[in-house]
Amino acid sequence: MANQIQRRISTHESTSVTLLLIGVALTYLVLFLGLPLFAVFVQALSKGWDLYWKPLQEPDAWSAIKLTLLTAAIAVPANLVFGVAAAWAIAKFEFKGKSLLITLIDLPFAVSPVVSGLVYVLLFGAQGWFGPWLQAHDIKLIFAMPGIVLATIFVTFPFIARELIPLMQAQGKEEEEAAVSLGASGWQTFWRVTLPNIKWGLMYGVILCNARAMGEFGAVSVVSGHIRGMTNTMPLHVEILYNEYNFVAAFAVASLLALLALVTLVVKSLVEWQAKHSGEPLPHGA
């Protein structure tokens, strides 16, 4: 008991310092995170439910929602297949240039979203490398949906791979080797041995990838052309409404995206909790 008290005195801060630090941290988080999140919903509902629902029923809003969902539905699976393939190659085999490959996979995180859009304009825009050829064949990539999908794939490129690579590296390859030596085929080994081991890490990557894919603004803004009802995603629709001083409508659409963020955080916490309790802790801790 005396020992306990001694410990408390020597390696813990005094109560007043503790309370002060908690107070500072909470104030900071409330000011920068809590209040903005709260404000989205207050602004959206500031003129009542009727005016909240109306902008969400506009055809332009619907087409923005559909485009956002469709974009994520293509970008996330594409990066999922890539992430699994990259993690399989990197975590289960030894080869030269591996660390360079890992660095290159992270590259899109180092690039401004605006630049992520710009590179596709340089390739496929009217004055781009392939612009004349695309025009001659009447294919529109920029200021159209394919460009939006490409830019979204670019900005969300590393999410799933960088989640799976350290996880699969930490798990090693003994289980897979055992399965193969017992006669399982490659696909059987992957589906029955590897996948169950990485399911939470995979989910984690997918959730974060999806949140970014649905919310991306800068990159998509550059390649979209902002054609209402055609090439506007939800974040771009929010911008247009806001710039038209239609604040309630802007915040109404924004509130859907804020809900998406909240769902993302809840699912993410659940996945972290599940991973911890299933003996497959995610590499980044949590």
């Binding site: 410990r7 390696t11 503790t18 630090l21 500072v24 941290a25 909470l26 900071y28 920068f32 995170l33 903005p36 999140l37 989205v40 602004q43 890539f82 393939a85 990259a86 190659a89 289960k92 085999f93 030894e94 080869f95 290159l104 899109p108 180092a110 690039v111 401004s112 979203p113 605006v114 630049v115 710009l118 340089l122 390739l123 781009g128 490409l150 794939i153 490129f157 390859k173 897979e176 193969v180 490659g186 080994t189 992957f190 974060l208 949140a211 970014r212 919310g215 803004s221 974040p235 929010v238 911008e239 806001y242 604040f247 924004a254 995206l257 804020a258 909240l262 955080l265 916490s269 801790g285």
Partner: protein, 276 residues
């Protein structure tokens, strides 16, 4: 082939690596190389002419300065938040912990319009600043606010696991040798978490430099004063000045790589000094 990779009984290497390299090249490497090829068509003189333009220089200065200030704010408060989340318990801690990742999950445009509304002169927070004649929204200060929001999780999430790993024994030993609490922090804990803090700072800084969506709504976007470099890229694109946009993009990339390199060197140097 045998030289290129070690032997393994597992199948699928060629398929997995082949697909990885193809996808990486098509989505990332070839498009990014277009950036450098395009800026090369300007020539060094042309590139220099664009980048050294007054308005471009001013926007680069605003971008890097605001990003630096925001990263410093996040380093300081992020450290406190990480400390509180690791060391103390209080009601609602798990919710607070989960909320730290909000800037990763909330679309930047939503953050942008919300912060602009909060910090506008008649907004919930802006009115208190306005009472003291301080304008936040539509000034460089507003840019710092948006970038602080965007970079908030980085320091917390890099410092948190390292801080949790600092062994209690070391602290106890220092304390039993008569070190005060502040001494223990300064001499024992801080050196252990310093590299992670620097990493978080660098990540927040790098993210802030490229940020666009959350900033443009709150910045006011006045040329020379509150116009960020990514916005100038968009403006050049809208005038179909591809070469000009590319030159600014390349300048931004080179500057941020130089910065990250400097921070990496600083980290390498300090970790060497730390382990003696």
């Amino acid at each position: 082939m045998s030289q290129f990779r070690a032997h393994s009984v597992l199948p699928g290497f060629n398929l997995a690596l082949g697909f990885t390299l193809l996808y990486l090249s098509l989505i990332v490497l070839i498009p990014l190389s277009a950036l450098f090829v395009k800026s090369a068509t300007l020539g060094l003189d042309g590139f220099w002419h664009v980048v050294m333009g007054d308005r471009v220089l001013a926007s680069l200065r605003v971008t890097f300065f605001a990003s630096f200030v925001a990263a410093v704010i996040n380093a300081l408060f992020g450290l406190i938040v990480a400390w509180v989340l690791v060391r103390y318990t209080f009601p609602g801690k798990h919710i607070v912990d989960a909320l730290v990742d909000l800037p990763f999950a909330l679309p930047t445009a939503v953050a942008g319009i919300t912060l602009a509304t909060l910090y506008a002169p008649n907004g919930w927070l802006g009115q208190y600043f306005a009472a003291h004649d301080i304008k936040v929204a539509y000034t460089p200060l507003g840019i710092v606010v948006a970038l602080t929001f965007i970079g908030l999780p980085f320091v917390v999430r890099t410092v948190q696991p390292v801080l949790a790993d600092v062994e209690a024994e070391v602290e106890e030993a220092a304390a039993s040798l008569g070190a005060g609490r502040l001494d223990v922090f300064r001499r024992v804990i801080f050196p252990a978490i310093y590299p992670a803090l620097l990493t978080g700072f660098a990540l927040a800084f790098a993210r802030a430099i490229g940020e666009y969506g959350s900033v443009i709504f709150i910045a006011g976007n006045m040329p020379y004063i509150s116009e960020i470099a990514p916005l100038l890229i968009v403006a050049k694109l809208e005038q179909y000045d591809y070469a000009g946009a590319t030159a600014i993009a390349v300048a931004m990339l080179l500057l941020s790589f130089a910065l990250l390199l400097a921070i990496n060197i600083l980290q390498w140097w300090s970790s060497r000094r730390g382990t003696r």
